[in-house]
Amino acid sequence: MERRPLLVSILIHLAALTLAAVILAPFIWLFLMSISSAADLSARPLHWWPESVDLSRYGMLLSTVANSAGAAFLASLRNSLFVAGMATAGALLVAVPAAWAVSRTPGVRWPLFLVIATYMLPPVCLAVPLYMGLAALGLLNSVFGLALVYLSILAPFATWLLKSGFDAIPREIESAAMIDGARLDQTLRIITLPLAAPMVATAALFAFLLAWDEFFYALLFTADQRAKTLTVAIADLAGGRVSDYGLIATAGILAALPPVAIGLLMQRAVISGLTSGGVKG
C-alpha cells in the first residue's frame, strides 16, 4: 500500500463516516420513532431525541388480546411464517432433485434455462389467471394458496442456486461410492446430500427471505387476518388512518428484525450470492 498524505487519509475517514451515517440514520430514526412518545413525534420542531423511552407499542403489537392491533399484527406474523415456511419447503422439495439431475446430466440443461428465465417475468403477467385459478379452487385468502403461488418465484430461484452448489461437489466422489457398490439412493443420502447440506440451508434461507419480502401477490390474494401477511399488514398501517407513527415504526422494526439478522449472520453467503448474480435485490 502506498503511503498516503495526512490530508487524503482524513478525507477518506470523513467519507467513510458519511457513508456509515447515510446507511445508519434511517435505521436509527426508525428505532427512535418506535420508542418515542406520540407527543415527541408530533412536536414542531421535531424532538429528535425522545424525552422518555416508551416501549408500550412493542407490548401493544405483541399482545394477544382479541380484536386489538396486536392480534392483527400477530396473525399476519404467523401467516408470513406459514406461507414463507411452506413455500420454502415446497420449493426445496422440487428443486433439490431437479438441480442434482441437471448438474449431473449433460444434455438436459435447456429446461433449466427455461425455468430460470421465468424468474425474470414480471408478476403482473401471471397475476390475473392466478387470481382466477385460486378463486376456482377456493384458495383465495388462504395461506396454502399464497404459498403455492410463491413457488413460481422460489422454485426457479432455489433450483438455480442449488445447481451451482451441486456443480461444486465433484462427481468423482459419487462415482467412487457407486463403484464400491452403493445404490444411487444410498450414494445421494450418504455422500451427496450431507456435502450439499450447507448450501441447501443457504438456499432455504434466501428463499425464505424472498417469500418474507413478497408483497404484490400477497396484496392481491389475501383479504383478512386468515391469510394477510406481514408486508400487507404494514402497507395497511402505512396507508391507513393510524395516527400514531410510532406504532407503524414499531411494526416495521419487528418485520425487519428476522431478515436483517439473517443478512448479518450470512454476510459471506449474501455477498457471494450478489456478486454471482444469483441473489436479486
Partner: protein
C-alpha cells in the same frame, strides 16, 4: 450405465419441478395471452374475443404511454444513481481505513430491509406535517416551510427514487467492491510506479475489471426497476395525479381495481415484452462474458 437411462432418470427427477412450473407459470402465462384478446372481467363473464382491440386502445390511449414514460424515468434515474453512488462507495471501501470491516458489514443492512418496510420508513420521513426530512431541512435553514414531498407531482417521483436508491446502492457497491478486489495488487503498484495519476489509474487499470460485473448489475437492476410495484404502492399508490403511476401499478388498477381482466392482461403482456428484451440482452451479455473468460 446406459446413457438413455441416465437421461430418462434426469427427466424423472426434474418432473416435479416441471409440473409445478407448468401449473404456476406456463399455464397462467398462456391464459394471460388468451385473455388479452378478450373483454373478460375479473369475476363472472368469460368475455368475448375482441381481436387486437385491447392492444390498439392501449397504444393509442394516454394512460399506458404515460405509465411507460414514468416507469422509464424511474428506472433510468434510480439505476443511474445507484450505479454512481455504488461505485463511489465501492472505491471508498476498497481503501484502507479504521473500521472498514464494520462499514462493509453495514452495507448489508439496506439490502436486508424488506422493501415494504423501506417504503413505509421513507413515507414517514417524508411526512408533510411530522416528517424528519422537513424538520431537518427547516432546522438547517435549507427550506423556509414544510413541504409535501410525496403530495406534489413534481417531487413525488424523485422522493421515491431517493428511497429506492438508498435501499439498492449498497448492493451495487458490494458487487463493484468484489470486482475491485479482483484487480491484481502488482498491476496497481506498477501503475503508480509508472506515474499514472489517480484518474488514469481508474480508467486504465480498474475500469476493465469493473465493467463486466457492473453491466450485469445494471441489467438486473433495470429489470427490477421496470417491474417496480411495492415501493410505489406503499408510498403513493401511483399518485398524486398519477405522477408516480408505473406500468405495474396501472396493470393492477386496470385488472383488479376496475376488474377489466382482458385489457389488464394485454397491458401485462406489453410489460412482459419490454422486460423480456432486457432479459435477453442480459443472457447475451452473460454468454459473451462466459465466452470471453
Amino acid at each position: 450405465m446406459p446413457s438413455a437411462w441416465i437421461t430418462t432418470r434426469a427427466w424423472l427427477l426434474m418432473l416435479p419441478l416441471l409440473v409445478v412450473m407448468v401449473a404456476v407459470v406456463s399455464w397462467p402465462m398462456a391464459e394471460t395471452v388468451r385473455l388479452s384478446f378478450t373483454d373478460a372481467k375479473l369475476v363472472g363473464t368469460g368475455g368475448a374475443y375482441v381481436g387486437f382491440d385491447n392492444y390498439a386502445k392501449l397504444l393509442t390511449g394516454r394512460p399506458f404511454l404515460l405509465a411507460l414514460k414514468t416507469t422509464t424515468l424511474f428506472a433510468v434515474l434510480s439505476v443511474a444513481l445507484e450505479v454512481l453512488a455504488g461505485v463511489l462507495a465501492a472505491l471508498l471501501l476498497d481503501q484502507e481505513f479504521r473500521g472498514r470491516t464494520l462499514v462493509r458489514a453495514l452495507m448489508i443492512l439496506p439490502w436486508a430491509l424488506p422493501t415494504v418496510v423501506n417504503a413505509m420508513l421513507w413515507r414517514l420521513i417524508y411526512n408533510p406535517e411530522y416528517g424528519a426530512l422537513n424538520s431537518l431541512l427547516l432546522q438547517t435553514g435549507l427550506i423556509s416551510g414544510y413541504r409535501s414531498w410525496l403530495g406534489e407531482p413534481t417531487s413525488a417521483l424523485w422522493a421515491i427514487v431517493a428511497a429506492d436508491v438508498w435501499k439498492n446502492f449498497p448492493l451495487v457497491a458490494l458487487i463493484a467492491l468484489a470486482a475491485l478486489q479482483a484487480v491484481p495488487r502488482d498491476v496497481k503498484a506498477a501503475a503508480i510506479v509508472d506515474g499514472a495519476g489517480a484518474f488514469a489509474r481508474f480508467r486504465i487499470v480498474t475500469w476493465p475489471y469493473l465493467v463486466g460485473p457492473l453491466t450485469i448489475a445494471v441489467v438486473l437492476r433495470t429489470i427490477e426497476a421496470f417491474k417496480v410495484f411495492d415501493i410505489i404502492w406503499v408510498m403513493t399508490r401511483g399518485g398524486p395525479a398519477n405522477a408516480t403511476r408505473t406500468l405495474s401499478i396501472l396493470v393492477y388498477q386496470e385488472a383488479f381495481s376496475f376488474q377489466r381482466a382482458g385489457s389488464g392482461a394485454s397491458m401485462a403482456l406489453l410489460v412482459t415484452l419490454i422486460v423480456t428484451l432486457f432479459a435477453v440482452s442480459y443472457i447475451a451479455i452473460l454468454r459473451r462474458s462466459a465466452a470471453g473468460s
